[in-house]
Symmetry: C2
């Protein structure tokens, strides 16, 4: 966060009230109910994001070996093409593990949208989320694309259309001012199971009217994702469909690099925390900060181990001050640790100092564990790197949701 | 398993009825209720395993950076000393993360036992399991050690005394005959949360009357553990206390290496499956075999990814035929995979062939998922290595157990 402070002196950044993925200049969105998943036939499930000016684009994808068709198609198009005009996204069906027809369907979906808005088919990117192993119901999609009405204030429709087991839509926008330059970054994302470091069933769509170089855009996105979407965990599972995509149409003119990176990171962290908070069955957000690590990678690994531990998550659900599980999670994270230097606090209450349990006010810790946000701080006292990760508690409801997803 | 068949032609192996850790010649055990955990004051919680002839010993320990005191002490003693006469083990308190007093308490516990049975204090190994961060109640232990009565048929008392949230004791013994040589291997183990590849809160005590070299014993144990205890997962968490210890007193004379390795592996796999089946809140065992991998490490990683996936586990609990989650788990396991070669069956029912979903009898698959053992077979069709992993389903009961462990 030290960098943040340096930058804030130079530039101003603010979250916009009711900010959406269409808050930046020139972006339009709309959605419809195509009935892709028969069990939620009335839900918005097919959306288009469009820019009136062609966009540079960059993306971070799932690193699984078995990727869904829309991921493969979008990856290929980002390699082969410079500018993009739109994204089409559906929920209810992942278009994954259906053989060669998956790619053909993803391409057709892009083509149908491109045709409607006057963009070359290859200029349309594609994303999907939902049940794996079921082909996209193309007849429903063919019959529905034309019903989508693109509007400048359509961002919230897209945020709703990409939801699966999410209980609320996740969207936001930030505006940054730095001297003469002023630009906006908007975003929408969905979770909410299968969320884990190195992505997961996570779709994120980010837009900006800033003019930036393509290579810089890719680097800035990777950096922001590493500090945000890659620092959350719901259940340790990852999906074949994950992607975070950023599109920049340049309509607000050149943006200075540092403020752009900072604004993008703040937006991504905001959306990532919403995803963790809305983990399937979650009742509270766990925020774990690890300081004093020998390097950033180890700080991140240690913080992620805590928010990923089923035992820690279950203890937080039960407001059980079983801090030994937190320590055990850090111990197995791979980070360098000296037990005799290990400090742990829950909120402001020190629980372990120099590796040894302290007597603490149990009822005060239980009260903290029952809060909407549970702050856990660890200091390894070995170096100067720190990182923060976010997760959620594990409730019986998680199991209920995930034992009846398909049936 | 090919090796198994080759060997079976040369040697006979059989599981003994009511086999225990004291089935091999010369081993004695006993336990008492020391009241270490006040919430289960009447439970057997302090046990001693003793051999009338000094033993060679070998062990595999947790690889966490923050190890409990009994692990550190036993590791050190195994490095410094050749022969051991006994092990003392308690449940109810992990003796972990309590500072320097932890090591002193572990050493005192060993000394108390050594004194009572006429073994040097350094000839006694120590293990603990239970709540982390609480010092051992040494007064209770001092007052209780003398109450332990060692008996040739005391193995089952030890198996009961090491249980924490386990719902049944895990013990077994195998006898192997190979020409002139005949030897027995016995074992007891406990789970049942925090069980994950690379050990976890898992204690395993294995005894044998076979005479083997120390170096061979360590190698054979590591090999057996890699194929058994390291192939099970309950919740992805590991603990500071894990250890699997083998003690060999040589009373039955020399054992040929191959039969010994096979018998040890079979015993470890048997105990490991019991641990997986008794995972906290578990209602069924998931057995996943991955074949056609390019090497053994990848086959193991892929099989473990399936039994470790919260989403797969929740789906099995709900008997939800959501096979896409199995495929997604293999996809993110790191194993080399070609989607177009991927085959998946549940029981004998093919669900995915060459990467593509097959139409299948849904009610038949649901019936399989409701069985006590759920068999999942994957063929990557890329190489000739295979591996099997075991896990359990994830039920709301798991969360209930783990949200109220300490409070």
């Amino acid at each position: 966060m030290e960098c943040g402070i340096v930058w804030i002196m130079a530039a101003e950044i603010e979250f916009l009230p009711r900010g959406t993925v269409t808050s930046p200049e020139g972006f339009f969105a709309g959605a419809t109910s195509a009935g892709i998943n028969e069990r939620a036939a009335d839900k918005l499930d097919l959306a288009v994001l469009f820019s009136e000016a062609p966009c540079l684009a960059a993306a971070v994808f799932t690193d699984t070996k078995l990727k869904a068709a829309p991921v493969l198609l979008s990856q290929q198009r980002l390699k082969e093409r410079e500018k993009f005009g739109a994204v089409v996204v559906n929920s209810g069906c992942a278009n994954a593990y259906v053989g060669a027809e998956g790619l053909a369907n993803a391409a057709e979906m892009a083509g149908l949208v491109g045709e409607g808005i006057g963009v070359a088919p290859e200029g349309v990117l594609v994303a999907s989320t939902g049940v794996i192993g079921v082909p996209l119901p193309m007849e429903k999609i063919r019959a529905s694309v034309d019903r989508i009405i693109l509007a400048r204030d359509g961002g919230s429709e897209l945020a709703k259309a990409i939801m699966t087991t999410d209980t609320f839509a996740k969207e936001a926008a930030v505006r940054a001012k730095d001297g003469q330059s002023e630009f906006t970054i908007g975003g929408a994302a969905k979770g909410s199971g299968m969320i884990h470091p190195n992505l997961a069933t996570l779709l994120g769509f980010i837009t900006t009217d800033a003019a930036v170089e393509k290579e810089f855009l890719q680097k800035a996105l990777k950096k922001a994702v590493d500090a945000s979407f890659n620092m959350i965990s719901v259940d340790g599972d990852t999906s074949p469909n994950d992607m975070v995509l950023v599109m920049a149409n340049g309509l607000a003119g050149d943006a200075p690099p540092a403020p752009f990176e900072q604004a993008l990171e703040q937006l991504c962290i905001y959306l990532a925390k919403l995803l963790a908070r809305d983990g399937e069955g979650a009742t509270r957000l766990i925020e774990t900060t690890v300081g004093g690590a020998v390097n950033l990678a180890q700080a991140r690994a240690a913080a992620r181990a805590v928010v990923s531990s089923s035992l820690v998550k279950a203890a937080v659900y039960g407001a059980d001050p079983n801090w030994g599980r937190i320590m055990a999670a850090v111990g197995r994270s791979g980070a360098e640790i000296k037990e005799s230097k290990f400090d742990l606090s829950i909120g402001k209450i020190a629980v372990v100092k120099a590796g040894k349990a302290l007597p603490f006010d149990k009822s005060a810790v239980i009260k903290l564990l029952k809060g909407k946000e549970v702050p856990v701080s660890i200091n390894l006292n070995l170096g100067s790197s720190s990182a923060t990760a976010w997760g959620c508690d594990l409730s019986p409801e998680y199991v209920t949701i995930n034992s009846q997803y398909m049936t």
